[in-house]
């Protein structure tokens, strides 16, 4: 009659320390699984892990790169965190990122003669708008037509990526090289660098500011309250007078806009032109970051730094050990699964039954 030998029993209370301990537990367990895979590749896992951390934190160059990688992750991470808090499953951060990149590139190559801060502000606003529009479509479909948000946001990703491809191979193709990439954006459209001899750029500040803004939004504003309540219990929210439809649509709008800012940062702060590869999946990594952070905005800062470490460190490690840097991708997937499984422990306790 009973299929599993262990039974999950609902907890009456989840202890506070658990909430903080879970991410660390998940990371540890994930590294264990990763170690097994590395062993299969006949390499030394401990040597690999050491090099990941050394590569990311041990040298100035590595540290700078870690921050550079963490920058867009903060934005996609917080975008997803906001969405998931309202139970809007925004899997479309990748497409929204590209929407922002597209918009920023467009305004950047117009070569307007504006002072730098104004140009940057313009890029941010237009980039946000592009992502917000891209995100609001699945939001409206969910709120008004009950269409599944996961599938629609996913599909929108693919559509946006094709759109970018079409534009880059068409009207924006670089006439000088004939490659599918745009020309460089105007000098005065570039994000300023924050530290000399590094690639760390203004996007980092943008990311941290946005994270704090989202923190304040969720905690202190009326809209934030509506979002949290809708996410906690949609039926009760509706019963108790909250306009659930409006809330979902606004959540999608803002989340999409924030994810787009990641794209803006990558264009205006790092690459200065648009290619098809500016994001190796930052939108998806954002989901893992949000989950690992337990949907807490402040924790997103640390969570994105952690993944910045993994990504940067893996590149260094691959040069030293001969283990391909793709181990970072594997670790990301494992962390998501393990964290998801471990979140169960917050709600349930494991009990043995005969």
């Amino acid at each position: 009659m009973k299929f599993p030998k262990f039974v999950l029993e609902k907890r009456s209370q989840s202890p506070a320390w658990l909430r903080v301990a879970l991410p660390f537990g998940a990371i540890l367990l994930s590294f264990l699984f990763a170690a097994v895979i590395i062993l299969f590749a006949k390499k030394n896992p401990l040597y690999a892990f050491y090099n990941i951390f050394y590569g990311a934190l041990g040298t100035r160059l590595g540290l700078m790169e870690t921050i550079v990688k963490a920058t867009p992750l903060m934005l996609t991470g917080i975008a997803v965190t906001l969405a998931f808090t309202g139970k809007f499953w925004n899997i479309g951060a990748e497409g929204q990122l590209y929407a922002g990149a597209l918009a920023a590139t467009w305004i950047g190559i117009q070569n307007l003669s504006l002072p730098v801060p104004v140009y940057i502000l313009l890029e941010i606003l237009i980039g946000f708008a592009a992502g917000a529009i891209w995100g609001i479509i699945p939001g409206i479909l969910k709120a008004k037509y009950k269409v599944d948000d996961v599938v629609t946001t996913l599909l929108m990703n693919t559509i946006m990526i094709y759109l970018v491809g079409a534009i880059l191979e068409g009207p924006w193709r670089d006439p000088a090289t004939s490659w599918p990439q745009s020309i460089m954006i105007a000098r005065n459209a570039e994000f300023p660098k924050l530290l000399v001899r590094s690639r760390v750029h203004f996007g980092l500040i943008l990311g941290i500011v946005v994270i704090f803004l989202v923190y304040i939004l969720l905690k202190n504003t009326k809209l934030g309250f509506m979002i949290r309540t809708t996410g906690a219990n949609k039926e009760a929210a509706y019963y108790l007078g909250i306009n659930v439809t409006k809330t979902i649509i606004l959540t999608a709008f803002i989340s999409g806009g924030i994810a787009a800012l990641a794209g803006v940062g990558e264009i205006a702060g790092l690459h200065y032109h648009l290619t098809e590869n500016i994001s190796p999946g930052y939108g998806y990594t954002g989901i893992i970051i949000a989950m690992l952070a337990g949907l807490s905005p402040i924790a997103v800062i640390f969570s994105s730094l952690f993944f910045g470490i993994i990504i940067t460190g893996a590149e260094y490690m691959s040069r030293v050990t001969g283990i391909t840097s793709f181990i970072a991708n594997v670790v990301q997937g494992i962390i998501l699964l393990v964290m998801l499984a471990m979140l169960l422990l917050q709600e349930y306790r494991i009990r043995r039954v005969e």
Partner: protein, 311 residues
């Protein structure tokens, strides 16, 4: 423009449609089993990719294409067991589990390929399957060329459609599986083992998804590239809804989407002016429209996305 209506073009087009529909048919049939039992399996994209990878590596190392196929199926099954453990045994979010499996499997594919093959300047290729003309039938003008001169995997895909239909609708196993997807409480009350049934459904799904992946590296293309699945897993997710979770309509939908794929390639070849990406977008846009039209009246398996735990 006249070229579009030439016989040569049409034969090429329809033949390619069937070819390109092959992985869609197989993978979507797999997803159908999964969803019919109540589990949305977003691990499909990663599973297909890992299937491609396993098929390629095993075929490359053993020189046997058939072993490659078997490897693909097995790797798909292993990934689906992970998915089953997360969503059935642990009962956690199906959305996030599926994404996790896709991210993990994709990462693993890249990792294993690079570790085993390295990055040579010329990526290795294999000798793929060749098309198998069916004796006699392939000589029929037009139809023969289109239908009866295809890869083994394509023939298999077409045969799988009625087979899956039979299993789902004409066997007691299928009836039980569908009841679990509609109303697991009722099924449980009748003595059906909901957990076991979902595990089996996911294993079938995983095997089919892996098999679909093998098509890319063993037939359609002769090497492994990261983008080789190119989002077709997501198309399958859409296709299942489009096909109303029914195998026969899966075939129809896959042909439609495969046709769009084949069409845009041909248009590129004859130098058509519209960027091919807009045509590639069509299936996805189409899907969203279908989702909206169908949302209210979709006969979703009623327990889709809800984990089942006996209180």
């Amino acid at each position: 423009m006249k070229e579009i209506f030439s016989i040569g073009f049409l034969v090429g087009f329809f033949s390619a449609t069937l070819r390109m529909a092959t992985p869609l048919i197989i993978a979507t049939l797999g997803e159908t089993f999964s969803e019919r039992s109540g589990i949305l399996n977003l691990g499909i994209e990663g599973t297909m990719l890992f299937g491609s990878l396993s098929a390629f590596l095993v075929a490359y190392k053993t020189n046997s294409l058939w072993l490659g196929v078997i490897a693909a199926v097995i790797s798909g099954i292993l990934l689906s067991i992970i998915m089953a453990y997360m969503t059935v045994t642990l009962g956690v979010s199906q959305h996030v589990s599926g994404l996790g499996v896709t991210l993990f499997a994709s990462g693993l594919s890249l990792f294993v390929y690079r570790q085993v093959i390295g990055s040579p300047s010329i990526p290795p290729t294999i000798q793929t399957f060749s098309t198998i003309p069916i004796i006699g039938l392939s000589k029929i003008p037009f139809i023969g060329q289109v239908l009866f001169n295809q890869y083994f995997l394509t023939y298999l895909a077409i045969i799988l459609v009625p087979v899956c239909g039979f299993i789902l609708f004409k066997t007691n196993f299928g009836l039980s599986l569908r009841s679990v997807g509609e109303n697991p409480e009722s099924a449980d009350a009748l003595g059906i083992n909901v957990y076991k049934t979902r595990y089996i459904a996911l294993i079938i799904a995983g095997g089919l998804m892996g098999l679909a992946g093998s098509f890319f590296t063993l037939a359609y293309f002769n090497m492994f590239l990261y983008g080789i699945v190119g989002g077709r897993g997501w198309v399958s997710i859409a296709l299942v809804i489009f096909a109303n979770w029914t195998p026969s309509r899966v075939l129809l939908g896959a042909l439609l989407f495969g046709g769009v794929d084949a069409f845009q390639l041909r248009l590129q070849a004859i130098g058509f002016r519209i960027p091919y990406q807009f045509l590639l977008m069509m299936p996805y846009l189409l899907t969203i429209i279908v989702l909206v039209l169908v949302a209210r009246r979709a006969s979703y398996p009623a327990s889709l996305l809800k984990p089942y735990r006996r209180e």
